[in-house]
Symmetry: C2
Subunit: 214 residues, 2 copies
Amino acid sequence: MDSKPIRMVTVPKAVIKRLPMYFRFINQLIEQGTERISSRELSQLMGITSSQLRQDLSYFGEFGQQGYGYKVVTLKQAISSIIGLEKIYNAIIVGAGNMGKAIAGYPGFSRRGLKIIGIFDNNPEIIGNKLGSLDVLDVKTLPEFLNKNPVEVGIITTPASVAQEIADILITAGVKGIWNFAPVLLHGNKNVIIEDIHVGDSLMTLFFKLNKNK
Amino acid sequence: MDSKPIRMVTVPKAVIKRLPMYFRFINQLIEQGTERISSRELSQLMGITSSQLRQDLSYFGEFGQQGYGYKVVTLKQAISSIIGLEKIYNAIIVGAGNMGKAIAGYPGFSRRGLKIIGIFDNNPEIIGNKLGSLDVLDVKTLPEFLNKNPVEVGIITTPASVAQEIADILITAGVKGIWNFAPVLLHGNKNVIIEDIHVGDSLMTLFFKLNKNK
DNA sequence: TAGATTGTTAATCGATTAACAATC
DNA sequence: TAGATTGTTAATCGATTAACAATC
C-alpha cells in the first residue's frame, strides 16, 4: 500500500506562460523528425536552463525516462493535452478592422482549435462584406447571435472606447473566455477568463529598450 | 555638500514590462481631464498595489509630492520620456499578409512614433499593391532599401520558416530593433534588440485557462 | 498645523537554479 | 553493468508587499 502522495500544488503563473513556448519547440522537433531529446538539449534550444524545463514539466507529470530523455511524440501529446489543444472552441470576432481580419485569416489559429463562426462590426460600410466564408454582421445582432449559437470564446478587436461594452454583452451571453486585443483593462467576473494581448505595449517595450541602449 | 548618492540599480524586467500599462492608464486620466491622482487611486484603477506603483516609479525618479499625490501631466511627461515616446523611429515591415497590413494600418502606432517607410513581400501577386501610401516592394530589394534608407526598426510578420533569414538581413543592415510577430525564437546579437509578440502563445494561454477551469 | 501621501527600507513571497539520489 | 538523465529537494535569487519616517 505504498501509493504516491498526490502533489496538489497549483501551477505557478510563470510556468503557465511558458507552456506555449514548450509546445512551439516540441512541434518544431516533430517537424524535423527528432525522436528523442534530453532536457539539456531542449533547454539549450529554448534558451532556458534544463532545471527550469524539468521543474516546469514536473507540475504536470512525469514524461521522461532516466538515462534516456524524452520521447518527442510523447511530450507533444502531453503538452497538447495540458493546454487543451485537441478541443475545438467556437469563437466570434467583434471588430472587423485590420486586426479582426488578421485573426480571422490566420490559418494557424483554426489549426489549433479556434473556430471562427461569426464576425461583427458597427460600420455600415463594412457590414455585409465577405471575409473568407463569413459575412460581416451588424454588431446590433450580436446578442441574438450569441443566443442562437454556442460560442465559447469572444475576440475583441474593437477600439478601446467600446471594448468594455462588447465585453459586457459577451459576458452576459455566457462566453467562457475573452481574447482581448483592445488596449484597455476589461472588467469581468469569476466566470469568464480574459486573456489580453496588448500589441501596443509590446511596441512600447521595444521603444524603452531602444531608448535605454542609446 | 550634501548631494544624494545616485542609486545605480538596474530596472527589473518586471518593472519594464509594466511601463506601457502605466502609460495607458495615465493617458486615460489625461483624456478624462483628471489633474491629480494618488498612488492608491491609480493603483486601484490598474488592479495593482500602491506599493508596487510607487516602488516601480522610484526606479526612474521622484514624480509625486507627499500629501498630494501625482500631477497627471507631470507623470505622463515622465513616463513618455522614460519609454522614449517622443522619438520617431523609421521602420519597415517584412510580410504584407494580414498581420503586416494590420500593423501598417493601425494609426495608434504611428501616433506613438513608429513611422513605416517600407513594406515588403515575396509573393508576386502582392508585390506592387498599394497599402495606404506605400507600395508593397519585392523582398529581394530589401538589402538595397536598407542601404539607402535609415531604418531603426524591422518588423517581421512573415511565416516562421523565413523569419530568421529576414532577421539576418535586418541585423546585417544594422537595424537597432526587431519587432517579431513570427512564432519562432530569433537569434540575434548584442547590437540588436528583439522584441517578440507571440499572438499564438496568447491564444494557447487562454486555451490552457479554459481547459483548467472545466 | 493636521492630515495625507510619498519614497524607501525591510520582510515576505514566488520563481529559478544547483545539486543529487533514483533509476532507466 | 556503466553512463546518462530524470524528477525532486533545497538553496538562491528576484519581485512584491507592508510599513513608516519624511515631508508637502
